[in-house]
C-alpha cells in the first residue's frame, strides 16, 4: 500500500470531518478517485472514520455505483428499463459490446472502460439513454454508439465528446447536458408564472402553526406516491420532542418511468429550495438535506450553485430571508444507485451513512428520523406546491383538481406515444383523455404509477388519475398492442429482484420466485396451476413485506393477472403425459448420462 494512497484516503475522510454519518460521501469520493473502494481502502476508511471494516464493506456492497473491484475511469451505464427496451436498447447494447470488445459487467483489457446495465435513469422520454460517468447520453443509436466509443478511445474523457445541449438550464454552464426538459404542458401551480420568493416571504410573516394550517387547508397530499397529507406530517414533526429537527427532500426519483422531478430540479430549483425553507420554518428545523440520486449527479454543481446564490442573497444561512432567529441551510446528499433509498426511512439510513435499509416503524420519521431527530421527508414536487400555496393561498391552490385530490400533478409520460414528456394536469383526468393528449394510439395497456402501481387495460381507461382512483407519483407508461405483456411483467420483476434491499424474507425471496414463475410461463412451460401459484405468492409478498417496496412489487404480476388474464391463458399448456410441463426428462438425465458415459435406453432422442 503506497504512502500516497494512504494519504489520499486520509484526506478524503478528513474532508468529511471523519464523521461516520458522512460515510456515503467518503466512499463515493473514494470510488471516484480510485475507480473502486478496494479492500485496502475499506480498511483505511474504517481506521480513519472510527468504524469497523465490515461496516464499510456493508455500505459499499449495498450501492450499485460503488464496487470493491476496480472499474475503468470511464463507466458506461446503459439503461435497461422496459421503455428503453421498447426503444431498441438491445441494438445499442450490441453496438457497445462490439465497439468495445467486451460484454456487460466487464472492463476493457486496458482497464479504461467499463460497461454495465443500470435500471431506469429517469430519461424514459429520451430513451435509449445511458450514463457515461456523470454525463447523460440520450436518444442513443448504433451510429451514436460508434461516435461515442471512437471519441472515448481517442481521449478517454466523456466530457470531450461533442454534444448538443438541451433546452433551458440543461445548457447552463454548470449543467452542459444534452438532456431535454420535455416539458409539454405547463400548469398553473408548479410551472406557472410566479413571483420569486413570495411564498417564503408570506410564510415567514406568519407563525409556523399558521403556515401548517394553510398547507392543511390546501389539502396538499404528498407527490412522491403515497399521498400522505403534508400538513399533517409537518404538524407531527413540529409537535415531536426534540430541539433539533430536519427537513429532507426526496430527489431519489427511482420509480421506473418517473422523470418529473428531473425537470423541477433543472428549471424550478429556486422554487424547490423556497419550499424547503418554508418546511424548515414550519417544523422548526435549521437543517435541510436534498437527497439526490446518483443518476442526477450531472445536476449537482448547478444545484450547489443555486444554494450558494441563495446563501449570498441571505435566503439561506443565519437569519434566513431576513427572519430573526431563523437559521436555515440546506446540504446535498448524493445517493449511489439504489431504488430503495427513495423509501423515506431507507433514505434516512443512507443520509446517515448506512446501508440503505428501511427502518422499523414505529417510530415514524416525524418522531425519530434522521439521527434519531424528528424529520419530515417530502417529495420535490411537494415542496414546490407548498411554495405556491404560501404564495397564492390555499383556495387558489385547490381551485382545480378533484375533491380528494386538489390541484395539479406532474405526470411523466413515456412509452408508445408520439409526445412523451412531462405534463402538468389537474387531478381527476381520465386515462383516455390523457392518452389522446400524449398522442397514444392502439393502446393495449397503461402502467399508472410505475411497476409498483397498476397495469390497466382498455376496460379501465375511463378511470381517473387521482389519489382515490388511480394513484401515481408521476409515472405513466403506455404500451401498444404489439407489446408482449408477459415480457414486460418479467422485466419489471427483474427490476424488483435487483432493487430489493434484502432485509425481509418475503421481498428478498418472494420477488425472485415471482420472477422465475413468470419466466416459466414465458418459456411455454406454464400450466393453469401456475397462475394460482403466482397469485398466492404475490399476495404473501404484498401482505408480509416490511416496506413499500415489497408491499407493491408483486403488482406487475397481480394486476396483469387480473387485467390481462387471457394473455397468460393463451400460453399455458395442458400436460398430457402426467408430468409437469417444466420437467424435461432428457435434460434431467443428461448429468447422469455424462457421468456414466451411457445414454438412457428409454428416453432416446
Amino acid at each position: 500500500m503506497s504512502v500516497e494512497f494512504k494519504q489520499t484516503i486520509k484526506e478524503i475522510c478528513e474532508a468529511c470531518g471523519n464523521d461516520r454519518s458522512l460515510m456515503m460521501d467518503v466512499v463515493i469520493a473514494t470510488q471516484k478517485r480510485f475507480g473502486c473502494v478496494s479492500n485496502e481502502a475499506m480498511d483505511l476508511i474504517a481506521e480513519n472514520m472510527n468504524a469497523h471494516r465490515v461496516e464499510v464493506e456493508g455500505v459499499v456492497s449495498f450501492y450499485s455505483f460503488l464496487s470493491p473491484d476496480p472499474k475503468g475511469q470511464v463507466v458506461i451505464r446503459l439503461c435497461n428499463d422496459v421503455v428503453d427496451q421498447m426503444q431498441g436498447v438491445q441494438a445499442v447494447a450490441e453496438a457497445f459490446k462490439k465497439e468495445l470488445g467486451i460484454d456487460f459487467g466487464q472492463t476493457t483489457p486496458d482497464g479504461k472502460i467499463t460497461l454495465e446495465w443500470t435500471p431506469c435513469i429517469g430519461m424514459c422520454d429520451q430513451a435509449p439513454a445511458a450514463l457515461i460517468n456523470d454525463m447523460v447520453f440520450t436518444y442513443l443509436s448504433t451510429d451514436k454508439v460508434r461516435e461515442i466509443t471512437d471519441e472515448l478511445k481517442k481521449h478517454g474523457d466523456p466530457e470531450q465528446i461533442p454534444i448538443r445541449y438541451g433546452d433551458g438550464n440543461n445548457a447552463h454552464d454548470l449543467v452542459k447536458s444534452m438532456v431535454n426538459n420535455g416539458l409539454r404542458k405547463k400548469g398553473a401551480v408548479i410551472f406557472g408564472q410566479h413571483e420569486a420568493e413570495k411564498g417564503v416571504k408570506n410564510a415567514l410573516s406568519m407563525s409556523a402553526v399558521e403556515v401548517i394550517r394553510e398547507v392543511k387547508n390546501a389539502r396538499l397530499r404528498g407527490r412522491g406516491g403515497a399521498g400522505f397529507p403534508t400538513g399533517m406530517k409537518w404538524e407531527f414533526t413540529r409537535a415531536a420532542d426534540g430541539d433539533k429537527k430536519y427537513i429532507l427532500c426526496n430527489a431519489d426519483e427511482g420509480e421506473p418511468g418517473t422523470f418529473k422531478d428531473r425537470v423541477i430540479l433543472t428549471e424550478r430549483a429556486d422554487l424547490l429550495f423556497e419550499g424547503m425553507t418554508i418546511g424548515g420554518y414550519a417544523v422548526g428545523s435549521d437543517e435541510g438535506i436534498l437527497y439526490l440520486r446518483a443518476e442526477y449527479a450531472y445536476l449537482r454543481a448547478f444545484l450547489e450553485n443555486v444554494l450558494k446564490e441563495r446563501r449570498d442573497r441571505g435566503l439561506l444561512g443565519k437569519n434566513a430571508c431576513g427572519k430573526d432567529g431563523f437559521d436555515f441551510d440546506i446540504r446535498i446528499q448524493m445517493g449511489a444507485g439504489a431504488y430503495i433509498c427513495g423509501e423515506e426511512t431507507a433514505l434516512i439510513s443512507s443520509c446517515e451513512g448506512l446501508r440503505g435499509d428501511p427502518k422499523n416503524r414505529p417510530p415514524f420519521p416525524a418522531q425519530k428520523g434522521y439521527k434519531e431527530c424528528p424529520t419530515s421527508v417530502n417529495n420535490v414536487e411537494t415542496f414546490c406546491a407548498v411554495a405556491r400555496i404560501l404564495d397564492k393561498g390555499a383556495a387558489w391552490f385547490s381551485e382545480v383538481g378533484s375533491q380528494g385530490s386538489p390541484s395539479t400533478k406532474l405526470l411523466s409520460v413515456s412509452g408508445d406515444c408520439t409526445n412523451p414528456g412531462v405534463y402538468e394536469f389537474p387531478f381527476g383526468m381520465r386515462v383516455d383523455d390523457l392518452l389522446k393528449k400524449v398522442g397514444a394510439q392502439d393502446v393495449q395497456a397503461v402502467l399508472i404509477g410505475g411497476p409498483s402501481g397498476q397495469l390497466i387495460g382498455s376496460a379501465d381507461f375511463e378511470r381517473t388519475i387521482c389519489y382515490d382512483d388511480l394513484a401515481t407519483g408521476g409515472s405513466v407508461i403506455v404500451f401498444n398492442s404489439k407489446r408482449n405483456i408477459l415480457e414486460i411483467v418479467g422485466q419489471y420483476m427483474d427490476f424488483f429482484v435487483e432493487e430489493s434491499c434484502g432485509y425481509c424474507t418475503p421481498c428478498r425471496v418472494g420477488n425472485v420466485l415471482l420472477r422465475n414463475g413468470i419466466e416459466k410461463i414465458i418459456h411455454g412451460q406454464g400450466e393453469k396451476a401456475d397462475l394460482d401459484y403466482l397469485q398466492e405468492l404475490g399476495e404473501t409478498v404484498k401482505l408480509a413485506s416490511r416496506c413499500g417496496l415489497g408491499q407493491t412489487s408483486p403488482n406487475p404480476v397481480l394486476t396483469s393477472l387480473k387485467n390481462f388474464r387471457a394473455v397468460y391463458e393463451a400460453v399455458l399448456i395442458e400436460p398430457t403425459d402426467g408430468q409437469q410441463p417444466s420437467f424435461d426428462i432428457k435434460a434431467a438425465l443428461s448429468v447422469s448420462e455424462d457421468l456414466t458415459g451411457r445414454k438412457s435406453e428409454i428416453y432416446k432422442d
Partner: protein, 239 residues
C-alpha cells in the same frame, strides 16, 4: 411511564399489556404463541423474517415491532395468516441449502421446529440451490452460510451484547450475506467462542466445533414439544 394497562384482543381473547409493549411480548405474557424467527428476547426487534406477521385492525403488522394499542383486534392464528406464514418459512428453506437430516442443529433448530409446527414437510417452492461459502478458519467456531436465514441476531448481539462488531451484512437483495469483520476469515476477527453472538443463531449457520450431535435424539430442544410450547399456557390447544 404511565401505569395504565392497555386492553386488546388476539383472536377474540382479551389480552392486557403495558404501554410501549409489543404485540409479541404482550402475547407471550398472556401465554399466546405468535410464531417468530428473527426475534430474540434482549435484542432490539429486527423485524426481518416477517413470520410474526399478524393482522391488526385489518392491517398486516409485524408483532415483534408493533406496539399494542387500546381496543385493537389482532388476528394471529387464522387459516389465512397461517398460509402466508408457511409461505415465508418455505421461502427460507428454498433460499438456502437446508439439509436437516444431517445438520448438527437438527432438533434444536428454530427454523426446522417452526416448519414442523406449521405442518411443512417439504417446501412447495422450487429450490434455488445457491452457492454459499463455509468458513471453518476459526479453531472453535464455524460459519455455514448455506443455512443462514439473515435474521440479524449475530450482527446485533455482537454489537449490542458483546460490544464488538464481528458480524455484519454485505450485499443487497438476493445477494445479501452475512460477513465477518476481516478481509476474508473469521479467524482474523476478535470473535471468541463465548461471545453471545456465537450462541444465538436460530439455525445451524454459526456453530461451535466439537459439539455436533452431542445431545442424543429424544433429548433435543424440540424432540418432545413443538416450538412455542413454553409460551403457551394451555398446550392442548396445539394441533
Amino acid at each position: 411511564m404511565s401505569e395504565k394497562t392497555i386492553t386488546f384482543t388476539i383472536d377474540g381473547v382479551e389480552v392486557k399489556g403495558a404501554p410501549g409493549q409489543t404485540i409479541l411480548d404482550a402475547a407471550d405474557a398472556a401465554g399466546i404463541y405468535i410464531p417468530r424467527l428473527c426475534h430474540f428476547k434482549g435484542l432490539n426487534p429486527h423485524g426481518s423474517c416477517r413470520v410474526c406477521t399478524v393482522i391488526v385492525n385489518g392491517r398486516p403488522q409485524a408483532a415483534c415491532t408493533q406496539p399494542i394499542a387500546e381496543g385493537t383486534t389482532v388476528e394471529n392464528d387464522t387459516e389465512d395468516i397461517k398460509k402466508h406464514r408457511s409461505n415465508i418459512v418455505d421461502m427460507m428453506f428454498v433460499e438456502g441449502n437446508h439439509f436437516c437430516m444431517f445438520c448438527e442443529k437438527s432438533g434444536n433448530c428454530e427454523l426446522q421446529a417452526l416448519a414442523y409446527r406449521l405442518g411443512i414437510c417439504a417446501p412447495k417452492y422450487p429450490f434455488q440451490f445457491p452457492d454459499c461459502t463455509l468458513d471453518a478458519s476459526h479453531p472453535d467456531i464455524f460459519i455455514d452460510r448455506n443455512r443462514c436465514i439473515l435474521c440479524g441476531r449475530c450482527v446485533q448481539a455482537s454489537k449490542d451484547l458483546d460490544g464488538k462488531c464481528v458480524f455484519e451484512f454485505v450485499g443487497r437483495g438476493a445477494e445479501k450475506k452475512i460477513a465477518v469483520n476481516a478481509e476474508a476469515k473469521l479467524s482474523d476477527t476478535n470473535v471468541d467462542v463465548t461471545d453471545r453472538a456465537v450462541n444465538i443463531c436460530p439455525v445451524g449457520a454459526i456453530l461451535k466445533k466439537r459439539e455436533g450431535f452431542k445431545i442424543p435424539i429424544g433429548e433435543r430442544m424440540y424432540d418432545a414439544q413443538p416450538i412455542g410450547s413454553d409460551i403457551e399456557s394451555d398446550t392442548k390447544s396445539i394441533k
